[in-house]
Symmetry: C2
Subunit: 524 residues, 2 copies
């Protein structure tokens, strides 16, 4: 039988794209010469969600969350404007504590859109957040990187660019993410400029904005105005950014400042409790779900107070703690239960849902890493997650972005696409002609139905080892990490940047140069 080069799911090629801003002859020339990149459309699930909580349980959690918001309240720190907004909306303010009357937060959430489009500069790479969709993005935030040759070290801007390139080359990623690693060799106050440049120039997929200062969020919007056009940005969402809640029940001014900037510009925020269960939330799943419900209700409601109708995603980053060592643990059953339950809460609120990822606590891309990551990825798909950050590359509790694990996880994401597509029940798929043709005791390898369908029948890893033992042994008995190292090198060597209008590129370069020149370097 012949070779299977392409999966059915990878139907689009970036070579066909039409850049929105790239109208010039140079752009067209660049486009013609750029390498075609395989890229799957974001997942639209044709499988049910796993609803592990009964309605009565969800109602208890929601009622308790309202009790928390009213009786305990939430803190908005160093943020008089936020307190004023809440007061106007009908909350009671006590110092920095906001007591939200029962029903108010839920009512405010109602203006948030159920779904929204995040546009990419290549329109074919734009993604739809919410509904039955699942958009996959790489790891976010690690200060370290790891590769099989050099081991673990601080991340640099070169690493950052490499990960953006790997993401661009991965057919199963839909989104370029944000801080794929911290470029620690760039001053803290200028990193966001280099990171945004990488996302804007090295890929044509959607990406995230800076949240570490409101001014950096503003820079993110302004760079998007150069990339997409000012008018386009005013009317469309081109950034989705990660706004963490300081659990328990605290909204700090840095993160809220970023949220305010983005909401005012009609750009999307993910309002996301960051919870290591047992430390930032109760040691019980039901208690954690209750706190997540209260925090996201308050955060999403606040985004709507800033601008009714602003796009927002209800998030939950939840893991548990190892009560022996105090270390966060990943891929655990309690985190899965919270993820399933929060999905049900998000759907009842009619909000897009962000959670899960290729989480693991392991220091190496070994079996532990893979067990924990596979547990988390499967759980994410079935929990109805709409935006999955950290879908590849995460290592050591998120401290490390791993080159090898990036391509290992990214390969597994292909399996999620196929699983999510559901079961084809067409007459051709029922295959009664094949069963008749082959009959008892025969085999299907050569039958007509197999000939017609084998190319697209089964998902096939492009990384893992399927070779006979002897071949595998002769080729060096390589484990998954060794195969992934080769793949990383191949991908980076064959990478070519998507075409970009030279005028746009010049304007972005000028913006970044001017911003960098306007301030001294800061390293903390």
């Amino acid at each position: 039988m012949g070779s299977v080069d392409m999966d059915e799911q990878v139907t689009e090629r970036a070579g066909r794209r039409r850049g929105r801003t790239g109208g010039g002859g140079a752009a067209r020339r660049a486009e013609r010469t750029s390498t075609a990149i395989e890229a799957a459309r974001y997942i639209t699930r044709n499988v049910p969600n796993l609803d592990i909580l009964h309605d009565e349980a969800l109602e208890i959690i929601e009622a308790n969350a309202e009790t928390i918001l009213w009786e305990i309240g939430v803190n908005f720190v160093n943020n008089p404007a936020a307190l004023a907004r809440w007061k106007d909306a009908g909350a009671e303010i006590d110092g920095e504590r906001v007591h939200i009357p029962r029903g108010l937060a839920r009512q405010l959430c109602a203006t948030a859109p159920r779904t929204f489009t995040q546009h990419a500069r290549n329109p074919e790479r734009s993604v739809e957040m919410g509904g039955r969709n699942l958009v996959l993005a790489p790891v976010y935030g690690p200060p370290f990187v790891h590769d099989a040759v050099s081991g673990r070290r601080y991340a640099t801007i070169e690493d950052f660019r490499n990960f953006v390139k790997l993401g661009h080359m991965s057919p199963w990623l839909h989104h370029s993410g944000g801080t794929v690693c911290e470029p620690t060799d760039v001053p803290v106050n200028k990193r966001h400029l280099d990171m945004l440049m990488a996302h804007m120039t090295l890929t044509d997929r959607p990406f995230m904005g800076s949240v570490t200062e409101p001014s950096r969020a503003q820079d993110s919007v302004e760079m998007c105005e150069i990339l997409f056009g000012k008018e386009f940005v005013a009317e469309n969402t081109v950034l989705t950014s990660l706004v963490n809640i300081n659990s328990p029940l605290t909204f700090d001014d840095t993160m809220m400042g970023a949220l305010e900037t983005y909401a005012a510009a009609n750009q999307a925020s993910i309002v996301s409790p960051f919870i290591v269960g047992g430390a930032m939330a109760p040691v019980s799943v039901a208690g954690t779900l209750t706190q997540v419900a209260a925090e996201t209700l308050a955060g999403v409601a606040y985004s709507q107070l800033v601008r009714a109708g602003a796009p927002v995603i209800m998030g939950a980053f939840v893991t548990s703690i190892d009560m022996n060592s105090g270390a966060p643990t990943f891929g655990t059953p309690e985190a899965a239960q919270v993820t399933y339950g929060t999905g049900q809460l998000a759907r009842r609120l009619g909000l897009p849902y962000r959670s899960a990822g290729a989480f693991c606590g392991s220091k190496l891309p070994d079996a532990q890493a893979a067990y924990e990551s596979a547990n988390s990825l499967n759980m994410g798909l079935l929990a109805g997650v709409n935006f999955m950050l950290h879908a590849c590359g995460w290592l050591e509790g998120g401290l490390v972005a791993s080159y090898e694990k990036f391509v290992m996880d990214a390969d597994q994401l292909g399996a999620l696409h196929k699983l999510a597509a559901g079961i084809d029940m067409s007459e051709e798929a029922q295959a009664m002609d094949a069963i008749r043709e082959v009959g008892p005791g025969g085999h299907y390898l050569g039958c007509a139905h197999t000939q017609r369908n084998f190319k697209t029948a089964f998902w096939r890893s492009r990384l893992l080892d399927y070779k006979p033992y002897e071949t595998w042994s002769e080729e060096g008995a390589r484990d998954t990490v060794a195969l992934a190292s080769v793949k990383v090198r191949q991908m980076l060597e064959s990478y070519s940047a998507p075409a970009m209008d030279p005028g746009t590129r010049e304007a972005l370069d000028a913006y970044v140069a001017e911003k960098k020149a306007s301030m001294p370097d800061a390293f903390s």
Copy 2:
């Protein structure tokens, strides 16, 4: 905070057990001195099944399966008695082909019990097959073993005994399985005697009988009559054995001979298509499901023709083929879809369901092995599987039983227990007192609710690395395989056999010695 020694789920200790047959003083003395072994009760799921097919799809599959049974038929090879049984039941016979009228197989299946108890010699280790239960058993069938030091080699009876011991020491396994590896150093015609002796003496959990010849099935029953007492075996199920169907649509006389022996003795068989999709079934999921439905309907119906009411499990071993290399692949989305779908078919038939396992194609217990295994284990839990063979130790497409992977997979099974338990919604679990006590900006590490609950709050791996980076690094930067190697050694060194009545042991020894003396060695 204190140390977490025990998980909530491990509530029973073998030290408390009362042996059914061990009434003598020596047995009581042995019992008092035997080491207490932690052992979790089989899983009773408190989470929903993932039903990925609509009723209409299931009805199409069932109708197509009936069409296959009637129009194409199934072969019962070298088995005139089976053909006679089918003829008496109303089927049409054409040579060895049995054409089963629509509805007949389904009607015959109705006498199979929805659930049954498989008894262990330690009554606390007996398991309930069917319903919402999930019983976990180790890998079955590999001719090779693998360990990190010696690599891959042919399995011996010493390996076999080691794996039975490891199973006995694993708190999350409920069943000792059957051919955990092929003891290739024992003559083929005597292996079953040594294997049964190992299961009967080295553990007190339930186990499987031989299926490689009807006479060996008979030996299995007779040895059980010694272990449990003749009267007990006549009235109770003490063996569950694996009867594969030669897909497509063929029932050979060896396997059917074993099934006939067991059904006649009221012992359980798993009637299980063995399918590498694309070779033994169509390349489509719907087609494979249809064939699985037809084959299991015919097989289960046949068990009821031998003895109405005989305990039987509807099985499905399904994987797909890599159309490039022809190798079977594991942990793939198509296999998951078949597993989910077959679970729905089994529940509609009211039969216990066997499927899934820690499947992988990898040659090493590396990340590939873990991704693939975790995909399969999670899928098995959510597909409503009742008996999961191969739940640990499987490597290289089932050719190899891996020492390290045995304990790696077995550790992951603990997470399944916790996930399956569902979410506690008690007032204590709602934790409103903790949220009130801690309030915005606090932490939960020392609060009263945490103090009361932390010991049992979170599932904790007993194998994986949760240490700080520096500690881990100083201790040799070990990967999962290295940690597992240590664990294997520790478990085998600390193993002690469960107590057994000396008279029973002598009778078993005598039976085996007599049987072995009665026939020359055969090696093929």
